[in-house]
């Protein structure tokens, strides 16, 4: 069992619903975010290419953040979800530094916070907040180990990429292009 997420950039309109849904679901304080939108534009008017992406922690297989954590607050949870135990976190920010995706932030209460793939919702059989709200249904979540899961079939049939593969982190967020 390995959780992963796919983002279909052909459908994402960059509306930020995933961002605000995560903020309200997870009590992320305003001014901070566990997920965010990136827009890239290539070309010259009128020969253009635009990509919109919903980004978050890549829940990597090879995790610099967990490695650098001096207290074990950052850990690999069930299904490969990368989590932080706030009570163990001393706020040294080494993990924030080590993450190539800038996916972690310092919570004003003094610990590091990040995307949890809404594991509290998964436990109830619900989708993550972002997946459940996305108006374009461009977000897919599931078990990438199971070849018959929706996400595995989707990835098997569509061209996709990961972000900053050269960092060697083996990210588990896939972008369908």
């Amino acid at each position: 069992m390995r959780y992963g997420m796919a983002v279909d950039t052909n459908k994402c309109v960059g509306c930020s619903d995933c961002v605000v849904a995560c903020q309200t679901e997870n009590n992320v304080p305003l001014g901070y975010a566990r997920d965010w939108i990136v827009e890239t534009v290539d070309g010259t008017y009128p020969n253009l290419f635009l990509e919109l992406r919903s980004e978050r922690c890549n829940h990597c297989d090879n995790t610099p953040c967990v490695r650098v954590c001096p207290t074990g607050a950052s850990f690999i949870g069930d299904g490969g979800i990368i989590k932080v135990k706030p009570n163990k976190c001393i706020g040294c920010a080494a993990c924030i530094e080590s993450c190539p995706y800038d996916a972690r932030y310092m919570h004003p209460n003094g610990y590091v916070d990040k995307c949890t793939f809404c594991d509290h919702r998964l436990a109830e059989g619900l989708d993550t907040a972002c997946v459940s709200v996305c108006p374009t249904k461009c977000l897919y979540f599931g078990d990438v180990d199971d070849p018959n899961s929706e996400i595995s079939i989707l990835l098997a049939n569509n061209k996709h990429k990961t972000l900053i593969p050269e960092a060697g982190t083996k990210p588990q967020l896939f972008y369908i292009v």
């Binding site: 509306c15 209460n109 709200v133 249904k137 461009c138």
Partner: protein, 741 residues
């Protein structure tokens, strides 16, 4: 109060006595690793008020320290407007409730030592004053001299009181400033308007054509969802837009048209489709009127002719026409929503309607479906008095095809002139920031200055509240009941909005305010209930449901009773036009002395050093309604001016540089706007998201943030057919040094 000049009062001048600010930041902070529990949460049905799409959903509350608090809002799975998924604005709707800048208590304009300011008032004081002043205006002039502008659900309760007084001058700016031309054009063609939500069968279409319509940036929820479904199913999208919109980036064909030339393109598409006999022959023969006239009309409108005007290459015009034709009838030339651009908008939308008819898409799967709604019975009440004058008399003999009241027409008629016998003397303004909604702010302010009495009902201290004599703080949609939602869709449905929390501060629901006002004016019989719940329950019981049931389910779907969703093959059908057919050649327009078929006319070009000012939407905002919302301003706190890199280079503009704008009439923007240098815009125009740059300084997050297109829209091109206000003929130049020092 009769004032010679209505001074704009910044609401900050109120005494702030006893107002406790609760910071949403603190409210929303959670303890580490502690999640609110979905199972323990309570939920209340609502339909969203952040925009007019009115998605139905659930408001979740949770107990925090013994107090029930609003936690989150999510869509109702049974709702066809949202399919269980709210848009970012709807999800961020919690911020409407938590916004600490909300209007908190009634305010009354007072004058002391020649200085006007607002004083906090009790509800009785405020409503007594309104009742007294409205009665005086009605007596001194006539009740017809009272007008209302509304773009909020609460307006229905106030319009009841106004009609009971004897005035039907009730308008929504969403008509003459937005979708009016489209309604008139489709009524002229099909005998039926588009309405809201648009009955476009996008999820089943094979080809979606967007003309300046930026679905995905305008977040009209159901449409955005269906566009995504269509992409999944391999539909092709054709986008016509001088800006590389989000939709353009998802399109098989993006046509970066020269602004203001759309009608030429539409005529050329008709030419190709008729000339190459690609139209739906059976459909055209059976259902349409005036094909031969149309054929002759577009004979000379070749792609080569259109190329010189639109800058779209002839082969692209042909290819895209073929693309549409091969999808026919599962093709949608989308009518758009905000269509008041150049003053010939009804004719442009007529061209859209005609093109759809040639391709046989009206009433067809993948084209336009036939929506159905229900009509709820109304509780018995006395008949309204018959008004001697209506909003039509605001513009005698003009705009006779307008189907709804024109906000701009009523505003203009408020300014006294020799040719109008009764200008309006009092305005009631509900849930619309008229200052930024109506074009030509100077004109709006002059009208306000001529009024004897102005009431504003809103949740936020937006710009227009500064012009009021009395401001009434409405509680947000999360704290109130409203009328039941019964809008049309693929299936009829009823949706309930009920309070999920008690009204914060000293705010009140519109139904309560209107009822109290009616009582104070001796019109209590027109509001035949003590509490709005009684009325809702009565209406629901008439329909075989009840308030109790609706509180549990939120949305009730109802079986279709009348027509089918699509026209059946070969079905006889009488359209509600003069000829009973789809009028390619409009007898109604001809009768009124207008072109029976659309023609292209050239519009002015920006002078040297000026750029056409285009404006639009961002997915996280609905105009000024949301710019101060803590959650939504967190997603986008200001707008920026989109400038092409070559243009930026010419004027030495840098990324994020703050600049000011001056329009063709010498109007200079109040606040600086940051420059966004992007290839996504061409070299003849600039672009900004509408709703920012507000002057209401009590909106702490929004005040002076970004630029306001609305203050630069002073050239208004009126649609001669229905009075729409074309707003895209304004040109701006850059000012690099602060002009206000």
């Amino acid at each position: 109060m009769k004032t010679n000049r209505r001074e704009f009062i910044k609401i900050s001048s109120i005494g702030a006595g006893g107002i406790i600010l609760s910071s949403p930041l603190i409210n929303l902070l959670g303890k580490p690793e502690e999640h609110k529990d979905e199972k323990r949460a309570k939920r209340y049905p609502t339909y969203c008020e952040v925009c007019f799409w009115k998605c139905a959903g659930w408001v979740y509350t949770n107990e925090e320290k013994g107090e029930e608090k609003i936690w989150k809002i999510i869509g109702n799975e049974d709702d066809l407007h949202s399919n269980g998924r709210f848009c970012p604005r709807g999800t961020g709707g919690v911020g409407m409730y938590y916004d600490e800048d909300r209007l908190k208590t009634p305010l009354i304009r007072v004058e002391k030592d020649g200085v006007q300011s607002f004083k906090e008032a009790t509800w009785d004081e405020a409503l007594d004053l309104i009742a007294k002043r409205l009665k005086e205006v009605a007596k001194e002039y006539t009740p017809e001299c009272i007008a209302m502008f509304s773009h909020g659900s609460g307006g229905k309760f106030f319009s009841n009181v106004l009609k009971a007084m004897g005035s039907v001058s009730i308008s929504a700016p969403s008509y003459a400033q937005c979708r009016g031309p489209r309604e008139v054009a489709f009524i002229a063609t099909y005998g039926k308007g588009i309405g809201s939500p648009e009955p476009t069968d996008i999820k089943n279409t094979k080809c979606l054509v967007l003309i300046g319509s930026h679905i995905g940036e305008n977040m009209h929820n159901g449409q955005v969802q269906e566009m995504s479904d269509a992409i999944d199913d391999g539909a092709s999208i054709i986008t016509v837009d001088p800006r590389y919109s989000t939709a353009a980036s998802k399109s098989k064909f993006w046509l970066p048209i020269k602004p203001a030339t759309d009608i030429a393109l539409l005529l050329a598409w008709m030419h190709v489709i008729i000339n190459e006999e690609l139209y739906d022959k059976e459909y055209v023969e059976k259902y349409t009127f005036g094909f031969e006239q149309l054929k002759a009309h577009v004979k000379s409108k070749t792609p080569e002719w259109a190329y010189t005007i639109t800058k779209i290459k002839p082969d692209v015009i042909r290819k895209t026409a073929h693309e549409m034709a091969s999808a026919s009838p599962a093709v949608i030339i989308h009518p758009g929503r905000h269509v008041t651009w150049y003053g010939d908008d009804t004719q442009r939308l007529r061209a859209v309607a005609i093109l759809n008819a040639l391709l046989g898409s009206w009433g067809r799967r993948g084209g336009f479906y036939n929506p159905e709604g229900i009509k709820l019975k109304k509780m018995p009440r006395p008949d309204y008095p018959k008004p001697k004058r209506t909003w039509r008399d605001a513009h005698p003999d003009q705009y006779r095809l307008a189907g709804l009241a024109l906000s701009s027409g009523m505003c203009d008629a408020t300014i006294p002139s020799p040719d109008k016998d009764c200008s309006y003397k009092a305005w009631i303004i509900n849930g619309t920031n008229l200052i930024t909604t109506l074009p030509d702010q100077k004109n709006t302010i002059e009208a306000l200055n001529n009024l004897e009495f102005v009431v504003v009902i809103d949740t936020m201290p937006v710009d227009i509240t500064g012009y009021a004599d009395v401001v009434l703080p409405e509680c947000t949609y999360l704290e109130r009941y409203d009328m039941l939602r019964t809008s049309k869709h693929r299936e009829p449905s009823i949706a309930l909005r009920m309070p999920a929390a008690k009204p914060k501060y000293n705010s009140k629901p519109a139904w309560w305010m209107a009822k109290e006002l009616a009582n104070k004016m001796g019109l209590g019989d027109y509001v035949p209930y003590e509490k709005v719940e009684e009325m809702l329950d009565w209406q629901l019981k008439e329909y075989g449901s009840s308030l109790k049931e609706m509180q549990k389910i939120g949305v009730k779907k109802i079986d279709r009773k009348y027509d089918d969703l699509y026209l059946l093959n070969g079905q006889e059908y009488e359209f509600k036009t003069n000829t009973g057919k789809i009028e390619l050649y409009s007898t109604a327009l001809e009768r009124e002395g207008f072109d029976a078929m659309p023609n292209y006319t050239a519009h002015p070009e920006p002078p040297a050093d000026f750029y056409r000012l285009n404006y639009g939407r961002a997915p996280m905002h609905t105009f000024t309604r949301t710019v101060n919302n803590p959650n939504l301003s967190d997603l986008m706190e200001e707008n920026k001016l989109w400038v092409n890199p070559k243009v930026a280079k010419k004027y030495d503009l840098e990324k994020d540089q703050e600049i000011w704008l001056e329009n063709q009439d010498g109007i200079v923007s109040s606040f600086a706007i940051k420059v966004r240098i992007t290839q996504r815009i061409g070299m003849d125009s600039v672009y900004m998201v509408h709703g920012f740059g507000g002057t209401a300084n009590k909106l702490k997050r929004a005040y002076g943030r970004g630029g306001a297109d609305s203050e630069l829209i002073t050239n208004v091109m009126h649609d001669p057919i229905m009075g729409g206000t074309g707003m895209r003929g304004n040109f701006v130049k850059f000012i690099k040094n602060n002009p206000h020092v």
